[in-house]
Symmetry: C2
């Protein structure tokens, strides 16, 4: 399933590839640090300059892109981490992406559709996209649409994915971790590995794209559950049980809704490892804890904890709840269902564990 990057194959492909990073939050900036260095160490393969599309903002009276390009640091979203000088922040989306061979999407999922629509007609037909975005979108039919599929549909190019236990600040500090790349074939896999792999950021490549992406979305629902356990002062056994039951609902969801979803994919970093990291260090865990400790709504907690940004978990919980309800499958997913109700404040979080006592996994 995994394949080691082969320099020979890639250099034969001849023309240097140009990379654009579409997005520039903390994860985008952490990955820019890796990509910027990797292209410099493979000058035969890649153009040295890497555009990073950045939504323009004001930062202490100046344009954020100017400050970033002067200081080589994303002073707003990843302060304290130096970026390679070949990473160039650019507020013009079309100028950033038009000559790119590889488009790395890394932005909140609600902005993807609009961004892709602006890019449409301006990108190379031969470009390869890779999505680092966690979450789902909704198709015109109201059904769940994977972000990679959304990108493919609008831009008419292939879209790979990369997900794993990759909390951005730790990656930025070069702490050892792993990730999972999902793409269509070996050639794409080798190319993307050469873009992303470092001695502290280890890549495994597989083709089960949709399962990888689903893990990236659903883990945040389970993370809320882990936070509820913490908020109630329960211990390691209960948290491990919630994590495992969440994992089994993720596997089940894959079986039912993803063609060709493989159990083995859940053993990759995008599966079990990201779930472990999310259930111990993610912000959806923090949300779960706060849901127990206060009576505030999710909106209020977002305002207080994330200064108005959205938690991913409740959105995904709502989206999958709609799908499961339509298919009359709610009882097969008691954990997802309970977390949806708790986020809606329709259920007391103290009832969470009671919803798991007769889980289908125990029958």
């Amino acid at each position: 399933m995994h394949s080691r990057f082969s320099l020979q194959v890639l250099t034969k492909m001849a023309i240097k590839k140009s990379i654009c990073i579409v997005g520039s939050g903390n994860w985008g900036s952490a990955i820019a640090k890796i990509v910027g260095r990797n292209v410099l160490s493979s000058p035969d393969l890649f153009e040295a300059k890497v555009n990073m599309y950045m939504y323009e903002e004001n930062f202490e009276g100046r344009k954020l892109t100017e400050v970033v390009n002067e200081k080589h640091e994303n002073v707003k979203y990843l302060p304290g981490i130096k970026l390679p000088e070949n990473i160039v922040a650019n507020p013009d989306l079309i100028a950033s992406c038009k000559s790119a061979d590889i488009l790395i999407f890394v932005m909140p999922h609600q902005f993807v559709r609009g961004t892709c629509k602006t890019m449409q007609e301006h990108i190379k037909d031969s470009a390869l996209a890779v999505s680092l975005i966690k979450g789902f979108d909704k198709g015109p039919d109201g059904k769940i649409l994977m972000i990679s599929k959304l990108i493919e549909d609008i831009l008419n190019i292939d879209c790979a994915v990369m997900m794993g236990a990759n909390l951005a600040p730790e990656v930025a500090e070069e702490q050892f971790c792993e990730t999972t790349i999902g793409c269509k074939n070996k050639e794409q896999g080798e190319l993307l590995r050469s873009v992303f792999e470092t001695d502290y950021f280890r890549c495994a490549v597989c083709t089960d794209i949709a399962t990888i992406e689903m893990c990236g979305a659903l883990k945040n629902v389970v993370g809320i559950g882990a936070g509820i356990v913490d908020g109630m002062g329960l211990g390691h056994n209960t948290k491990a049980a919630v994590l495992r039951l969440g994992l089994m609902e993720m596997v089940k969801f894959g079986e039912l809704f993803i063609e060709g979803s493989q159990e083995v994919t859940f053993f990759e970093s995008c599966g079990v490892a990201d779930l472990v990291a999310t259930c111990h260090g993610g912000r959806n865990r923090l949300l779960g804890e706060n849901v127990v400790k206060s009576d505030k709504t999710i909106k209020q907690l977002e305002k207080e904890i994330l200064r108005g940004q959205s938690f991913q978990g409740p959105l995904v919980a709502q989206e999958i709840n709609q799908v499961l309800k339509e298919k009359n499958m709610l009882e097969q997913f008691p954990l997802f269902t309970a977390i949806y109700k708790i986020c809606q404040r329709e259920m007391d979080p103290r009832e969470f564990i009671n919803c798991l006592r007769n889980h289908p996994e125990h029958i």
Copy 2:
């Protein structure tokens, strides 16, 4: 794979079954609380009195068994938790077990061989054993011998196993958790479920006995690795990667050394869940943390932290290292190998992560 306990089937089996708990440490006492209650709630199935074999000790000038039977509390190993009055501590091993139909083994693994030898010739031929013991033993050929196999060989009866994310103090407090029962057939599974399952202790039953047992031993090796990550002040990503790479080495070990080992067993509580609990709350994690923070030997740390008891992880690491070395397979298990060397103080724990950067999983 899982099957729900059916009262009809069991009551048809007629004669009431008698249970003996062989061992009485903190896990033994926590499980005694469950078993004691369960037999009372199924008076048609089980004899009310449950013998708990207890190695006699002095407790504040009195015999420990006397104090336990008077106070209905294991004042030495699980203080503060009331035991049902039908749990009767008995210092006479043969008297405790001779009329038992179900023998629950729960003691440190180094005592199993001697205990079984004493029991030999005194137990019922039709008895069923179930081992709750984590760890391996060594056969006369120097090879790894599962504890359940050791019990079967000496006593000439079937031995099931039960393992999972079950830290004893949390089970004693009735916090929700799951466990995995491994046994030969559905009938044994239903019987054991009726012995152990409660609304806070949920059982799943499968037949991959050796894999379940192997998980119970190997998880402690990985737990040391998680502790090393903590000791070095690294974050969630690295810990998740170590946990996952450890899990993959466990899967690989199963593939190579256990006939019929199934990947799906690692999704049970005995696999991923117990690993998560061990890597966050187990005492082998604590050992790993201390191995980084001091230069003391494992023996010294055992004296300080466990007052002379043994950590499981280093013993298991050594046993599997011998096997892997003989088979010339050390490079396939860089995590297990590094932890062995670190426990021997042959390697600086700060080198641990460097041993994982080119893990076979990344190739």
